[in-house]
């Protein structure tokens, strides 16, 4: 699936995670990182996400997963790893995160 393709908003975590990882790898970490990004790689500790790349990621998530991120939800816990991002999206959709960890 292309990172830029729009989903229908009914994804499961197992469908979301590769999409988010591909976006982060190609659009945010491109050229800055040689090792692959796992679903539990710390995006903040490893400086993959900075202030501006978080803007791009939020716009991507809103556009692709039909959610609206609220300012108070912009906390490290929701964006620390791809798993955390998926859990956050699922919580926005009112569905428990049942996807498997990488």
């Amino acid at each position: 699936m292309s990172v830029m393709s729009k989903t229908d908003g009914t994804n499961s975590p197992s469908e979301m995670k590769p999409v988010i990882r591909e976006y982060i790898t190609k659009e945010i970490a491109s050229g800055r990182r040689s090792t692959p990004i796992d679903y539990d790689t710390s995006l903040l500790v490893q400086d993959i996400l900075d202030s501006l790349s978080l803007v791009k990621l939020v716009m991507f998530l809103e556009s692709n997963f039909s959610i609206a991120v609220r300012p108070e939800e912009l906390v490290p816990e929701n964006f620390s790893t791809i798993n955390a991002i998926c859990a956050y999206i699922m919580s926005k959709k009112g569905t428990p995160n049942t996807g498997k960890l990488s």
Binding site: D47, D50, S51, L52, L54, V55, K56, V58, M59, V69, R70, P71, L74, V75, P76, F79
Partner: protein, 331 residues
């Protein structure tokens, strides 16, 4: 803000002067400024001017720092003939800014009627585009006056670290002052919650983008030193005669979100009582982020050079007493 820049380690001042400046840093905002709220505007600002002149006369360390900062940043190697009067004006400027904060309380009209706002049509046209507005500025002029846009009903917010009293490095009393007067007043008039980018806090740019999505005006001072969370994208520029790194976040956010980018300039008139807000037409964001940012920074630098006595020279490395050190690239 004021005490942060006036209450400095003092190596050469007498004990009496040190006592006075320390007492002043508490008594002026906590006692004198609230009392000026009872006075007519011109008289209130006269009190502020007198206090500024007194500090100029007594606080030799700060005076020296300001003189040197203006000389370094504006004059470079060319001597500035009116440097003493510019320095004295700087002390007046900071004293008057504190009175602004007091006059912003309530509905803000006590301050609003002293401010001539030019270019509101530019702001209205930008807001009409529906993508929010990124409004860039420097640390020139009064922050309370910026908040006047909120008092006039514009959906304004600011990205900043000191505005809301969250700077843990400041003394408790100063933080209390920020919360009671500046922070409370500015927050009250910000129609959208303020966005703090205090080091360690998360997601300031994304919060700005969300505010822009709601068609808010997001104010960003582009002359500040990059925060730790912004260090991955610095732009090397020459600013006020120094080679420095700056974070081009204002431009990046505008480019990412499609929000118009406009400049706001605030300065005091010669009577110290009245102020002017100038709002520019949108600045083009076409091109590389670094190039657009350099153009924006050049605009604010030109403004600082027009009003060097109204700039927060305590920023960055201008504040150093050693002339050689102050002239160095500090990045």
């Amino acid at each position: 803000m004021e005490a942060r820049y006036l209450k400095l380690p003092s190596a050469t001042q007498s004990g009496l002067t040190r006592f006075f400046t320390r007492a002043d840093s508490v008594l002026y905002p906590m006692l004198v400024v609230p009392l000026t709220g009872l006075l007519p505007a011109r008289l209130a600002y006269r009190v502020a001017i007198a206090r500024g002149d007194l500090l100029y006369a007594l606080d030799r360390d700060t005076r020296k720092r300001v003189e040197q900062s203006i000389q370094t940043g504006v004059g470079g190697k060319e001597p500035i003939p009116n440097l003493p009067s510019l320095t004295r004006a700087w002390f007046r400027y900071f004293s008057c800014n504190t009175v602004d904060s007091m006059r912003l309380l309530g509905d803000g009209k006590a301050l609003s009627r002293l401010v001539d706002v030019r270019g509101l049509d530019n702001l209205d046209a930008a807001i009409a585009r529906g993508k929010g507005v990124v409004m860039f500025c420097s640390h020139l002029g009064s922050r309370a006056t910026f908040a006047l846009l909120g008092a006039r009903g514009y959906p304004v917010t600011m990205i900043g670290r000191a505005t809301f009293g969250d700077d843990a490095n400041k003394p408790t009393l100063v933080r209390m002052f920020h919360r009671l007067y500046r922070g409370r007043a500015v927050s009250y008039h910000a129609r959208v919650s303020g966005i703090s980018n205090y080091p360690g806090l998360f997601g300031a740019a994304a919060k700005a983008a969300i505010a822009l999505r709601g068609n808010a005006i997001v104010g960003i001072a582009i002359d500040a030193k990059p925060k730790p969370q912004d260090v991955s994208r610095p732009v090397a520029v020459t600013f006020l005669n120094k080679h420095v790194s700056k974070a081009p976040g204002a431009v990046s956010i505008a480019q990412l979100t499609g929000a118009p980018l406009i400049m706001i300039s605030i300065h005091r008139k010669e009577d110290w009582c009245h102020q002017v807000i100038e709002i520019s037409p949108p600045v083009s964001v076409e091109g590389e982020t670094a190039d657009v940012f350099a153009r924006c920074l050049a605009l604010v630098e030109a403004d600082i050079r027009r009003y060097p006595a109204q700039y927060v020279w305590g920023l960055e490395g201008f504040w150093r007493l050693d002339p050689d050190e102050a002239g160095q690239d500090f990045t």
